[in-house]
């Protein structure tokens, strides 16, 4: 019984939150990795682009809510996301046309493109803050819990409760569906394959008749879908605040590089690596040991490897270690 309690404890406080957070990071990391692989620059505007897509989604959610449209138990935001994606794609394509295209056709070095993306970051951040303001916005509605902690305790008779939020289930489900669709697209369709070819060797791809304009456009479209959905899921699960989204850029970068930049599958797993290690290393295991150890050996301290203040530092340290020992990432991305 105690072992069951201990397992539920870990499931409730480590596994489910890490899986959710990891999915949100994974979507962002695939976004970064696609831009890096195909357009060949580190996009510092990642977090703010995600917050732009989320902002449009929130505005549509509010509009639908005012019209009285809802999905019952599911959050209204789910119908607003397609509209968010649409606006996001328009936004990204126009940014590409007015900003990035010039440097791409001039074959500027990647550093210059990264600098330009900082300009885009400033502008996007300003637009988001001017339209929706810098404060916290909640846009979640519908049923909050699938399983409540107390109900679970009564149902099973265990000491530990298991709470399962609907946003957590939605996040994981949507991520799985979206990522499988994406990998199917990249590996099985002709366009996807040509994208891969373009990413591997630009000149060869051009020689074999691949249209670079089309590739770039499709990359931005996919990026828009990923950014909006990733951002909206994060906002639904936690809350929307432009500054948090800007900060999320850092673990997202860490995930993309740890997984091997330019490699979408690596980025996907990298998100979970970062999320799980952050939560594993900063969780206080005292209660867990109280369940599995005999009473005489119970620990007195919190048995916490690192204080939760260092949550971000954990992912960055992992990144530094990976960069030192395996600069191409765990799953072999582009060689530096």
């Amino acid at each position: 019984m105690d072992i069951l309690n201990a397992l539920i404890l870990l499931l409730n406080y480590i596994f489910i939150p890490a899986l959710t957070y990891g999915s949100q990071l994974a979507l962002g990391a695939i976004f970064v990795t696609l831009i890096y692989g195909i357009l060949r620059f580190a996009n510092f505007a990642t977090g703010d682009m995600m917050s732009f897509g989320t902002m449009v989604t929130i505005l549509f959610t509010w509009y639908f809510q005012s019209l009285g449209i809802s999905l019952g138990v599911l959050p209204t935001a789910l119908i607003a996301i397609p509209f968010g994606i649409l606006f996001m794609i328009i936004y990204m394509l126009s940014i590409d046309k007015f900003v990035f295209k010039y440097y791409r056709t001039n074959k500027s070095p990647p550093v210059q493109l990264a600098m330009v993306s900082i300009g885009v970051m400033f502008v996007t951040q300003a637009v988001v803050r001017i339209i929706i303001g810098p404060s916290d916005q909640r846009f979640f509605d519908g049923e909050k819990f699938i399983i409540k902690a107390r109900e679970f305790k009564e149902m099973t008779g265990l000491n530990e409760g298991l709470a399962l939020k609907s946003t957590q289930v939605i996040t994981v489900l949507v991520t799985v569906i979206l990522v499988s669709l994406l990998f199917w697209f990249l590996n099985k369709t002709k366009t996807g394959k040509s994208m891969k070819a373009y990413s591997d060797n630009e000149d060869l791809a051009l020689l074999s008749g691949i249209d670079p304009k089309k590739i770039v456009m499709i990359t931005w479209i996919i990026a828009g879908i990923l950014a909006t959905i990733g951002g909206a899921l994060y906002g639904l699960d936690k809350s929307f605040k432009p500054f948090t989204y800007f900060n999320n850029m850092l673990p997202i970068f860490a995930a993309a590089i740890v997984g091997g930049i330019g490699n979408p599958f690596g980025a996907f797993l990298g998100g979970y690596v970062i999320a799980f290690s952050e939560i594993f290393l900063t969780y206080a295991y005292k209660k867990f040991f109280m369940y599995i150890l005999p009473e005489s050996m119970e620990p007195e301290s919190l048995v916490q490897l690192l204080s939760t203040d260092y949550k971000f530092a954990v992912s960055f340290s992992i990144l530094v270690i990976v960069l030192l020992y395996r600069p191409s990432g765990i799953f072999k991305g582009k060689v530096l």
Partner: protein, 456 residues
């Protein structure tokens, strides 16, 4: 003279702008903008010798600034005796432990071939070292943080004049840059950017949460000053006579004696804060001029030519027998040290250390905008970038307000859209920075004052 015309013109315009602020807003605001411009100029010079001279991209400016600030705290705050006696020993033991671990790792790396066993043993050493450190440090840290947590709760510093911290800040930042450079300098440009950005976040996390050293988010306030205090000035005779002399024309117009006294008092209060700011301006100006002379000398020295050679063609320079990695490391340390000076200057000017206020937007990306806008590789350009961008950063809210009012002049102020726009005026500064950066990168990619290499 003629070839320096654009430099002179750009600086004159900048000065006129600041003087205009002085005339139309107040001299207090103008001087505080000027002081911050000087500090930004120092930061920009640091970033510029890394990016402009050597082509190294350093997105960790925030971390070095914060370390400079930390130096200001450690140098100037008086030591907290009770805290030292309560937990000082543990902290000292930890310090020795860290040094021992680093030395052992160095020994292992020097004396054994690279192998899996070596890697794993180093990893095991680090992990066990961290666990050991935690067990030694924990009781000491708790004891230190328990002592009068509302006022101290940290070890304090050395109680020296704060001006020394400008040098110590440089050493702190340079030391961090040495470690970061050893780890990250081999990486390609954009990876280096990401790595330095993340490392600076780690530095901030440590400064924010190690309360025994920095008080963390509880902030350190009331630091010593290198300049006199306003309150003291207001009761000093020579200062009052000075203000009287300065404003004699204005005072003579007032015939009533008591009215004249109130006006004088008002002027003394205003004058004291202007005077203090002028003191800071003088100190900062000295730093900027010294750094400018040194960096200009370096730029035109054989060493500067070698750096440019390395920047423009690393492989060729390497083939000519230049040690690229060593030179990169050197310039990385130098640039970061200059940023550290700026960090200490910033805390000195504010008189308080607030770890929570270090954010990458303000302390990393804004500085980069300054470097790019001003002109990388040109010290005068870097300083100008610091001035122009900081000026715009501060004055963009009034400018945006003016523009909004100008374009919506016919719309009543109760209009929702107008009210919303006016409410979000502070965020227009991001828009202006972003647009400025994008326009400069597109139409004048070398900055306002581009790099020019004179071949003599």
């Amino acid at each position: 003279m003629r070839k320096n015309l654009n430099v002179i013109a750009a600086y004159s315009i900048m000065m006129v702008l600041i003087i205009l602020v002085g005339i139309f807003q107040s001299w207090n605001i103008a001087l505080s903008i000027f002081n911050m411009c000087l500090i930004s100029a120092v930061m920009t010079m640091g970033a510029n010798i890394q990016w402009g001279y050597a082509g190294l991209i350093n997105f960790g400016i925030m971390g070095y600034t914060a370390l400079g600030g930390l130096a200001a705290v450690i140098i100037s705050v008086d030591p907290v005796q009770e805290a030292w006696s309560a937990g000082g020993l543990n902290i000292l033991i930890c310090l020795w432990l860290i040094i021992a671990i680093v030395l052992i790792i160095r020994f292992i790396i020097k004396n054994f071939q690279k192998s899996k066993v070596r890697t794993y043993s180093i990893a095991a050493l680090i992990i066990s070292g961290i666990i050991l450190l935690r067990f030694t440090a924990e009781p000491g840290i708790e004891a230190i943080e328990d002592i009068n947590p509302a006022k101290t709760g940290f070890l304090g510093g050395f109680g020296l004049p704060i001006i020394f911290s400008w040098i110590v800040g440089a050493f702190f930042a340079g030391g961090l840059a040495f470690v970061v450079g050893k780890v990250a300098l081999g990486l390609r440009a954009d990876y280096l950017a990401i790595a330095t950005l993340l490392i600076s976040e780690i530095v901030i996390a440590i400064i924010k949460h190690e309360d025994w050293l920095t008080r963390g988010v509880k902030n350190v306030i009331g630091l010593k000053r290198p300049a006199p205090y306003e309150v003291d000035l207001q009761s000093t005779d020579w200062f009052i006579t000075l203000v009287e002399k300065f404003n004699s024309g204005k005072l003579e117009l007032i015939s009533n004696l008591s009215d004249r006294q109130t006006t004088l008092n008002q002027l003394v209060i205003e004058g004291s804060s202007v005077f203090v700011k002028l003191c800071y301006s003088g100190l900062f100006l000295i730093v900027v001029i010294i750094l400018l002379i040194l960096t200009q000398k370096a730029l035109y020295s054989p060493w500067g030519r070698m750096m440019r050679a390395i920047r423009d063609n690393e492989e060729a320079a390497n083939a000519m027998g230049k040690n690229v990695f060593k030179q990169h490391l050197l310039i990385f340390i130098l640039g970061s040290a200059i940023v550290g000076i700026a960090g200490a200057m910033l805390v000195t000017q504010d008189g308080l250390f607030t770890p929570g206020s270090y954010r990458p937007m303000r302390y990393t990306f804004l500085i980069w905008v300054m470097v790019i806008v001003g002109g990388s590789g040109n010290n005068f350009g870097a300083i100008l970038g610091g001035f122009a961008v900081w000026f715009l950063w501060i004055e963009s809210a009034p400018i945006a307000l003016f523009l909004i009012n100008f374009f919506t002049v016919g719309i009543p102020s109760t209009n929702l859209l107008k009210a919303h726009l006016i409410e979000s005026v502070p965020y227009f500064r991001f828009l202006m920075m972003g647009l400025g950066l994008l326009l400069i990168m597109r139409y004048r990619p070398k900055g306002i004052l581009p790099e020019k290499i004179e071949i003599k």
